[in-house]
């Protein structure tokens, strides 16, 4: 059952040093505020999982809290590179970053296997690609009916998954809508689940495209209006494309990055928006 708690307490209780942590949201509903809280609390040695690492993981990686990244596409969407991610991979700054790299189809199916509590998932993927040579979470299985060899990807079961949603009710049931990406799978695959929400409402009204996560699959809900910024929450906020563009020069340089984190995340409490 989800308790409705402060972001500080929920993060402190649910996210631990050394955890494998998934923060999902496919450009929509990215849980930035929770990432910032993790930075403020200095929770470290994390293995981060996310299909599209994006600026949120650039920030975590640049602060040195991350030892490994499980992912399939690491860019600033529509803008360019993730400079902190590149600096960590290429130069080991502020610490080396181990990679477990997949395709989107593979990552999505790793979460599906995780949510289904199966040890692996099957797809027709990775064929002819060098990707499988750099990871031990891609293998193959042979169809017992046709003899076809198919890719097998290992289940991904994060210790903790954090997502952002539009609404929770007072019992801690959650609804998100719009692009809902792989959030249901990431949440159901995890050992612990934290959901930040735009607001608490008396009753969840079913929405077209709505995904409901009942309170009994969630550990904590924290109310953080605007907690997806610079990403967005359909019906509440719009994507701050200007921020994504502004991030490029900030992240390009170690000092400007560190200053930005200190001024906007570490010092100020919830990041400025």
């Amino acid at each position: 059952m989800a308790d409705i708690r402060s972001l500080h307490d929920a993060v402190a209780d649910l996210v631990h040093d050394g955890d494998t942590l998934a923060m999902e949201g496919f450009t929509h509903l990215i849980p930035y505020a929770a990432a910032h809280e993790i930075i403020r609390q200095g929770i470290t040695d994390l293995t981060l999982a996310r299909m599209t690492p994006d600026v949120i993981y650039d920030q975590l990686i640049g602060t040195g809290l991350v030892k490994k990244l499980i992912f399939s596409w690491g860019g600033n969407p529509g803008v360019g590179s993730l400079h902190r991610f590149r600096d960590a991979v290429e130069n080991g700054w502020p610490r080396p970053l181990e990679l477990d790299e997949h395709s989107h189809a593979g990552m999505a199916n790793r979460y599906v296997a995780g949510a289904s509590r199966l040890p692996f998932a099957v797809l027709r993927g990775y064929r002819g690609s060098d990707l499988a040579t750099r990871t031990d979470t891609v293998s193959s299985v042979t169809c017992p009916f046709t003899g076809e060899e198919l890719a097998a990807v290992a289940a991904l079961n994060p210790d903790v998954t954090v997502i952002h949603a539009q609404q929770a009710d007072r019992d801690g049931n959650v609804q998100l809508w719009g692009l809902t990406g792989v959030q249901k799978e990431a949440a159901l695959a995890a050992g612990r689940v934290l959901v930040t929400v735009e607001e608490v409402v008396d009753e969840l009204t079913p929405r077209p495209g709505g995904v409901v996560l009942p309170t009994w699959v969630i550990d904590a809900v924290a109310v953080v209006p605007g907690g997806a910024h610079p990403s967005y929450a359909t019906g509440y906020t719009v994507r701050d494309n200007a921020f994504y563009q502004a991030w490029d020069p900030i992240a390009r340089n170690r000092d400007t990055f560190t200053r930005w984190i200190n001024e906007n995340v570490r010092t100020e409490g919830p990041a400025v928006r």
């Binding site: 496919f26 450009t27 929509h28 299909m51 599209t52 992912f71 399939s72 596409w73 690491g74 860019g75 969407p77 529509g78 803008v79 590179s81 993730l82 991610f85 590149r86 991979v89 290429e90 130069n91 790299e101 997949h102 395709s103 989107h104 189809a105 999505a108 199916n109 979460y111 599906v112 797809l123 027709r124 993927g125 990775y126 064929r127 002819g128 690609s129 060098d130 990707l131 076809e148 719009g178 692009l179 809902t180 990406g181 792989v182 249901k184 799978e185 495209g209 995904v211 967005y232 359909t234 719009v238 994507r239 494309n241 200007a242 994504y244 563009q245």
Partner: protein, 257 residues
């Protein structure tokens, strides 16, 4: 940007990329140049084109160019929004998509793609690119693949530093041997012209030049000994309507960004 008459080379690339979508029913759209091309196609040669984005939207009809693959308008204007695993399993792997439209960082002569790492020399660490995203399975499962990228020896290389996404492998037959359902890359549209795989060898050859571009310019911008087709055509210059549509699309994007 070099301009030729009243349009840029980028515009030539974008207009020809859009034209390549004439007749397609469904297109799996990568962000960036492919998204520009696919949205332009909807406003010109193929108003009924069904745009499919990996964020889960089927039949998006954005009024401006999305900055990201998950911009709100993609979902709000879609016929259906599906979870990401369903998109990759039922729709892409399910063989529902006619054309996959991809960009690339490095391409080789068999239209194989690298978007993972580049070798920057013996004393330097590998240069990091964004990674695979949806491309390996898009290239495998779509009916056919179109590619769009700017032409330079940095992009069109003799040998890939890493094969992220298989195009035609090492020649004809490789895709079939690997059990890939789709036909693979059928055209690479650049700011200089269009390359297509030779049916006999699967090697990319120059089949069309954009107006004002020479074969020598294309060869100089290609990292391998680029061959030409028996007859090299010249693409039609953009029509005023195409240019107007393209520029409107881009400025609408800028206004709202």
């Amino acid at each position: 940007m070099t301009t030729t008459e009243d349009f840029t080379r980028d515009e030539l690339m974008e207009v020809n990329a859009a034209r390549a979508l004439a007749g397609a029913r469904t297109c799996f759209v990568g962000i960036g140049l492919p998204s520009t091309a696919a949205n332009l196609a909807r406003n010109t040669v193929n108003p009924e084109l069904v745009l499919i984005y990996e964020s889960g939207t089927i039949g998006s009809k954005p009024t401006r160019l999305p900055l990201s693959i998950g911009d709100g308008e993609l979902a709000e204007t879609a016929d259906a929004v599906v979870p990401v695993p369903e998109m990759f399993n039922y729709w892409l792997q399910g063989g529902r998509i006619d054309v996959g439209f991809l960009g690339a960082a490095q391409v080789d002569r068999f239209a194989n793609i690298n978007t993972t790492v580049v070798d920057r020399g013996p004393d330097k660490p590998e240069g990091r690119l964004p990674g695979a995203g949806g491309a390996p399975e898009i290239a495998s499962n779509c009916g056919k693949v179109l590619m769009v990228l700017r032409h330079s020896t940095r992009n069109f290389v003799r040998k890939l530093d890493f094969v992220t996404t298989l195009g035609h492998g090492s020649g004809p037959g490789d895709r079939k041997e690997l059990g890939m359902p789709g036909a693979g890359p059928v055209a690479v549209i650049t700011d200089l012209g269009i390359l297509r795989p030779d049916p006999a060898t699967a090697e990319l050859v120059l089949t069309e030049l954009h107006p004002g571009v020479t074969v020598e310019q294309v060869r100089a911008a290609t990292g391998w000994e680029l061959k030409s087709a028996d007859t090299v055509g010249v693409t039609e210059p953009p029509t005023p309507a195409e240019l107007a549509a393209l520029r409107a699309l881009k400025s609408a994007g800028r206004d709202k960004a």
